[in-house]
Structures are given as structure tokens and as C-alpha cells.
Symmetry: C2
Subunit: 305 residues, 2 copies
Amino acid sequence: MTHFADRLFAAVQAKGNPLCVGFDPRWESLPAEIRRRHGSASLDAAADAYEEFCLRVLELVAPLVPVIKPQSAFFEACGPRGLAVLQRLLRTAREHGLLTILDSKRGDIASTATAYAEAALGGVRLGEARLPVWDADALTVNPYLGRDAIEPFLACARQCGGGVFVLVRTSNPGAGLFQDLKVAQDAGEPRPLYLRVAEAVRAWSRENLGACGYGDVGAVVGATYPAELAQLRDLLPEVPFLVPGFGVQGGTADDVAPAFRNGQGAVVNSSRGILFPFKPEESDWEARIKAATRATIAALDRNSA
Amino acid sequence: MTHFADRLFAAVQAKGNPLCVGFDPRWESLPAEIRRRHGSASLDAAADAYEEFCLRVLELVAPLVPVIKPQSAFFEACGPRGLAVLQRLLRTAREHGLLTILDSKRGDIASTATAYAEAALGGVRLGEARLPVWDADALTVNPYLGRDAIEPFLACARQCGGGVFVLVRTSNPGAGLFQDLKVAQDAGEPRPLYLRVAEAVRAWSRENLGACGYGDVGAVVGATYPAELAQLRDLLPEVPFLVPGFGVQGGTADDVAPAFRNGQGAVVNSSRGILFPFKPEESDWEARIKAATRATIAALDRNSA
């Protein structure tokens, strides 16, 4: 069983870039031809349209990038059939040799967290069997519930060589409301909450380092906060970073450069910038997706390698 | 359109008790007869077993309690068919006149939070139509991502008379790792993070009060922390409380008493204590569920009314 960080960075090396494609399908942005083919009469029809679109995008980007990150919310928004599409997307990505990060930002008390973790990573125990559900390589989790809410995810990840990305500094404009609150220290000046979360992530990640020197617990740090990104990279030298907020959310290639140490240590996610670089009525959407992927890879290459 | 808090407390009044039944189905705890009938060969079979069990429990408790709270994790653990069971459980509960709280603890950047919110509450926009997905009366959300991650949930709830319960002080033993961190104040002693979250919840809740005097933004406060519960009730007089951690997790009827003002203002959740007061081989499990529900109601009545 190969360690998650070794798998992640081997995939980055093999493809020669750290781009993670975020699958955030949105009905109103889909190519008009796909919308027309399926219609909007029901959630099932929308799920079928998502499936056609996502699997086509996957074929386009699979030769180019190492990892994808489906956003659970958009598949859940199509109900049960949307979740079947999520399952098929994840399975097909694995068949293409891609790594998969399920972006679900889960967090709950231990017994519930175990259910989330098994479904996302190792598989659910049913009698004597262990059955895969979403079967991703890693997932995102929310730290607010504390230690015993994170531990089931770590345990599950370590049984199957998976990874866990903990939200540390999120990419949204209002992230600071709680994440920037200054926490009093026993000694010294108060420091923001996200640094306390970061320290917990560092300790968890150090429990299980891969041959590459990185741990199996990563940090989500938004590209929209480059100063915090640089600070966190210094504080967390062994922690893999998942950097959202690149592209449409405002993060630039310069902004994400501090996430890397010697060109390694992070994957940078782009969702809308890769999935939707076209207007719905434009018929050359596939060429545009491919071009946007190549342009994003080139932009990252200038700055991070 | 009746305000969420008015609907919630009217339902509590009508049933004469504040008990919320948590639907956390677990394969290994199901009645053996149900497990045998469906088998454990696949996730679909497990989902079918969950459906039979949950709908039967719903029939038993519907005449007795005002509200149910399905835990999304356990349905997700059965894959797409598990989500179809969740959908049917929520719909059937509404047909029985019960209120429903989807316990999914979601939280994400604004555009993603909107997808979660529409799916949980008001319905997803598809072309001109708005189609219901989970269609609950309220959901639980995680505050770590901050203001703009919460606002889509509030907007969506207010369009459809729904409610939002924000995690403030969770019931798990490790909750304090971040929630208890002391936040420096401009003036005065540092105070724990959960009080800062509580103040944000108070402000959000006051934006839209119902005729009953309570807002549509509630707080999740664990029964396992009675001192914090009393402190938060004083701080948040207009905020409806959802109190988990009662029963199997350790909270007693005495512990939850501080959640109430004049016998109102909170619903108390019990999951395993209601769903599984029997051993799998015991054939009188339905009688036991009914007895456990009645006993829990009686215990709450002595202390909260």
C-alpha cells in the first residue's frame, strides 16, 4: 500500500504539473446542446446531463492533469441520481489513473465521522464484507468539531492509503470572521485561529510521513490569501496543500507560488476556469476546455516549477 | 408562509413534548429479521433494509413527537440508493405532519453553499422550475467558513420559511480543541471561540423573528455540556436550540433543562436511545422503540415543562 502523499506527488511528477480540476457542474453553465438533449424536466434529467458533461470533460483533462476534485454539493443538488453520477465520475477517473479528492468538507461526532470516512475512502463494512461507496483517494474535512471528529478520518485513510485535507484557511471573502480571530496564548501575542488549526494539522500529518517527506493529512489553504499561504507553508513543511480559489475566485499563478517547496508540496485547484471557459451556445466548448487546461498548466509552470 | 420558529414550537406544543428523534440507522444494530430479509450482499440491499426499518420507526414515533432529524452520513454510507431512502423518509415524515431537520453539517464557499441550501430547503432551480431535492424544514450547518458561507443558507431558508441550525457547542468529547480556544477581546478577558460563534448566531437570528419571539437561525448545543448550555441560553434568548447528545452520548434530562425558557425554546434529540433500545435478535423491537420514546418524553417532561 503506497502512502497517499507518495501517490499524490508521483502523479504530479508524472503529469509534470500540479493542477487539480474541480468538477463543479452547474446546470445554467452546461453546453446548450447537452441541456437540450436531456431537458430540465426533472432532477434525473439534470443528473444525466451532468454525467454526459463530466465524463466528457474527464476524457479531455485526464491525459493532462494528475488529480480531480468533484464538489459533492453539485451532485447532491440532483438528488440520488446525482450521487450515482458522482460515483461513476470518481470510478472513471480512477480507471484513467487519476487521483481523486472528494470535496465534501464533512465533520461530525466520531461515530458519524466514521460513516462519512468509510463511505469516502475505504469502504463501508456490511457483515463480513467491506463495500466501496464513493471510493475517493482523499476527502476534505472541517475541523470545527475537534480532535475526535477528525480521528475517524485519519484512521480510515491510514487503513487504505488515503488522504485527508483539513480546512485551514478557506478561499472565500468572509473566511476571516472566525478563522482570523486572535486566540490568546499562554505566552506571547494572540495568534489567529487558523494557525491553531494549522498546528493540529501539522501534528496529525507528522504521525504518518511518506517516503517523499510529506504526511497523509493535508491543509486546504485558499489562493486568495497569498500572505497566509506563505506563512502556512513555512509553518507546515511536511503538509500537502490543496489550494482552491485559483482562477475565477481571484487567485493568480503568482499568488499560489508560495504553496510550493522546490516545486513540490501542493496541488492547485481550478473548477469553473477549466469546466466553463465558454458560453453555453458555443459549439467548440471541448476545444476551449482543452485550451483552458493547457493555459492553466502553463501559467502554473512559470511560477511553481 | 409561516415562520420556521412558529412552526417548530407549534409542533412542540401540539405534541406536548420537545423530543426530536434522530434517524441514524446502523446496519449492525438493525433487527435481525430485517437484516435477514434483505441480506448484506450489496449497498442497495442495506439501503432497502434501512428503508424498511426507518419507515417502520417513523410510523411508531410520528404520533408521539414533533420533529425528526435524519443524519445524512448514514444514508450516504449506502450510496445513491441510501440517498433515495433519505428522500423518502423526509417526504413521509412531512406527510405525517412532522417537521424535519436534515443533519448534514454542511459549510462551503457561497456558490457551493447555495447548492447545498437549495437542495436541503427550498428546491433547486432548473431552467424556470424549482424542484425539491431533500426538502427538509431545516438543516444543520458548520460555521468555520464564516459569514458568506452562512448567508446562502439564511437566504434560502427565508424564501421558504425554513430554518438553519448553526453548530455552536457540539456534543462530542473533543469539541473543545478549537471551540474552547480563548479569543482575545478588544476589552476584557479572552472568551472562548464558541461564544463568538454564538454572538454571530444571535445577530443572524434577530434578523427574522417569528411571532413566538424566536428567530429562524438556531444553535446546536450539546446536552453533554450543561454549563455551556445554560450560559448560551442566557446569551441567546431568541435563538432556538437543537440539543444533541441526550441519552446514549451521556446527556440527562437534568442536563438539558437549562436549554428551555418557560418550557420553550429547544428541541432535544435522541438517536440511538430511540432507534435501538433492543438487541438485534429481540423480536419485540417495535414495542421497545415505542416504550423508549414514551420514557424519553416522560423524562423530558419532568424537567423542562
